[in-house]
């Protein structure tokens, strides 16, 4: 594995889907595996051959489909897989996953467990702790396709796992999977607030189930109070993130920096003609056609001083290259002016 000076949280640009890598000198954790080769390319780029934990937030293809191919790579060893076992058990994708698991077990032992607040407990690599905030075991008993205790219909998003990342007793990030309004309501009943620096926004900023988008965004952002909000989206998937979500989150966290992995068509009808200079060298799905906005991002984890070093460069890119950035649309006037000043006078 290539060396690093501090633990890292890498949010990959996988198009429409989610995938994160947490790495430390003591090991690697992957959270969610969508289709496509970005994860495999990144593991190769970082020379990662051993993965301590793979956590799958829920069984939608844009979160689980890539685990099959990952398990089939003979040069990668996976020690533990935690899956959120919802109603997908009869699908071809689930059977493929089980076939790949059998194949991987022929090479080395792979432990399989359920991903819930009580069953999986917390995870540690080095000084990083991962806390499973949702779903609770009781909530999962209803299962996707069933109902919760209040009689509301649950789908795979309702029971999506939500994972908190903690370093040095500081809450660094929340990876919210695809949790919807019912799942969030259940989460808020067990934890009243969970302030963290970064939120990977659920469901790629799309509609949160049957709930109102603006209210949902207000609630989840009041709960986490993030300084950086990431939307893992594909440019070709029009409508993500939705304007209602952005409006709602601005109400709760007006100063938060918003970053989409790819440049939404809502923000720019045309792609930039030149290659952006704010992106790092890690593989990103959007790099092939220049459709990255934030691209794949690397966050250096360091307790309360955790930071995303390219944030000011990303801001500059948005303000100078993007015609109608959705992330700037509902900003209070004072913040808009400050942003323009930063671009005109970066020092």
């Amino acid at each position: 594995m290539k060396m690093m000076d501090s633990p890292e949280l890498i949010i990959l640009d996988v198009g429409h889907g989610n995938c994160s890598i947490i790495r430390d000198i003591n090991g690697v954790i992957i959270i969610d595996c969508p289709t496509g080769i970005t994860l495999l390319e990144t593991l190769e780029y970082l020379a990662i051959k051993e993965i301590l934990y793979v956590l799958i937030s829920h069984a939608d293809a844009d979160h689980i489909a890539g685990i099959t191919t990952l398990l089939l790579q003979q040069n990668i060893r996976i020690h533990n897989v935690y899956v959120n076992p919802d109603a997908s058990k009869k699908t071809d994708a689930w059977l493929d996953f089980r076939r790949a698991l059998k194949d991987a077990k022929k090479r080395s032992e792979v432990e399989i467990s359920k991903l819930t607040t009580s069953e999986s407990g917390n995870f540690h690599i080095g000084s990083i702790n991962l806390e499973i905030l949702a779903p609770t075991y009781e909530f999962l008993l209803g299962g996707a396709g069933g109902t919760d205790i209040k009689g509301r219909r649950l789908n795979s998003n309702s029971v999506s796992a939500v994972i908190g990342i903690i370093h040095d007793n500081h809450k660094v990030a929340v990876l919210a999977g695809d949790i919807d309004n019912i799942g969030l309501e259940n989460l808020l009943e067990s934890i009243s607030n969970y302030p963290a620096d970064i939120l990977v926004f659920p469901h790629h900023g799309g509609k949160p189930g049957s709930g109102d988008s603006k209210t949902f965004a207000k609630e989840i952002c009041s709960f986490i109070q993030p300084k950086l909000i990431i939307f893992s989206i594909s440019r070709s998937h029009f409508g993500s993130p939705s304007a209602e979500i952005i409006e709602g989150l601005r109400f709760s966290v007006p100063g938060a920096h918003i970053l989409c992995t790819q440049l939404s068509q809502q923000c720019a009808a045309n792609l930039p003609s030149s290659k952006p200079t704010h992106l790092n060298n890690l593989p990103a799905r959007g790099s092939i056609n220049n459709s990255c906005c934030g691209g794949t991002i690397v966050i250096k984890i360091d307790g309360s001083t955790t930071n995303y070093t390219e944030m000011s460069l990303h801001k500059e890119f948005i303000l100078s290259q993007v015609n109608s950035p959705l992330c700037q649309r509902f900003l209070p006037e004072i913040l808009t002016r400050l942003g323009e000043e930063i671009v005109s006078n970066p020092d």
Partner: protein, 233 residues
Amino acid sequence: MIVTQDLNEKTIAIIDDDTKQSKAIAWEVEDAGYKPFLLDEGHFYNVNELVSLIRNKAEGAVCDHRLSNSGFANFYGAELVAALYDLQFPSLLITQYTEMDTSFSIRKWRDKIPVLLSREEAYASSIAKGIEDCISEFSGRVLSTRKPYRTIVRITNIDEESHEPVLDAFVPSWNPHKAVRFPASLVPEHIRYVLKPNFCLFAHVNIGAGTSDDLYFKNFELAPEPDENDGLA
């Protein structure tokens, strides 16, 4: 138009049984900064014979896929490009029958065809880039669209094309919604005889490919049935 620098001394063989088409390609090859060498006459019954001739006369090749129409050769251009690939000789394949040929007569050798161009794409810039991509692949810098990964291939249908058996399959890690056709001869004989629709195989596939025309398949294995006691049933 991209003009390749410092390549004026390099000769590119153009193998095409249609004289008119080979001359049009020669113009593009020249515009790309190479010296064209036309190979559009004669009769070749052995791939190796043509490979030797090309290697003696040129440092690269642009080859049409259908070479048998006028009795020029009794093999496909795809087979010729694959033979040149084994010798690390940069070669591009051109076809004007893209959709008809890619799933069968080209797919058979697709892993050894780094660059496939349709006739209307065969410009100086794409030829120059294609030659560079070949050289890059030979040196180990394989494009993400060409890199194979071991993955699931789910057979959906067994059929016949040009009197040869073909398989239709889904490669979920590439695109779970689009079936792809390939010759059954790519699958080892002992697996081929037990194949039925809905059977799952493992194979090395370049799942980063942008289109189904670019997909190749190799190293097939029979995938196991899931373990009934894995706790996930």
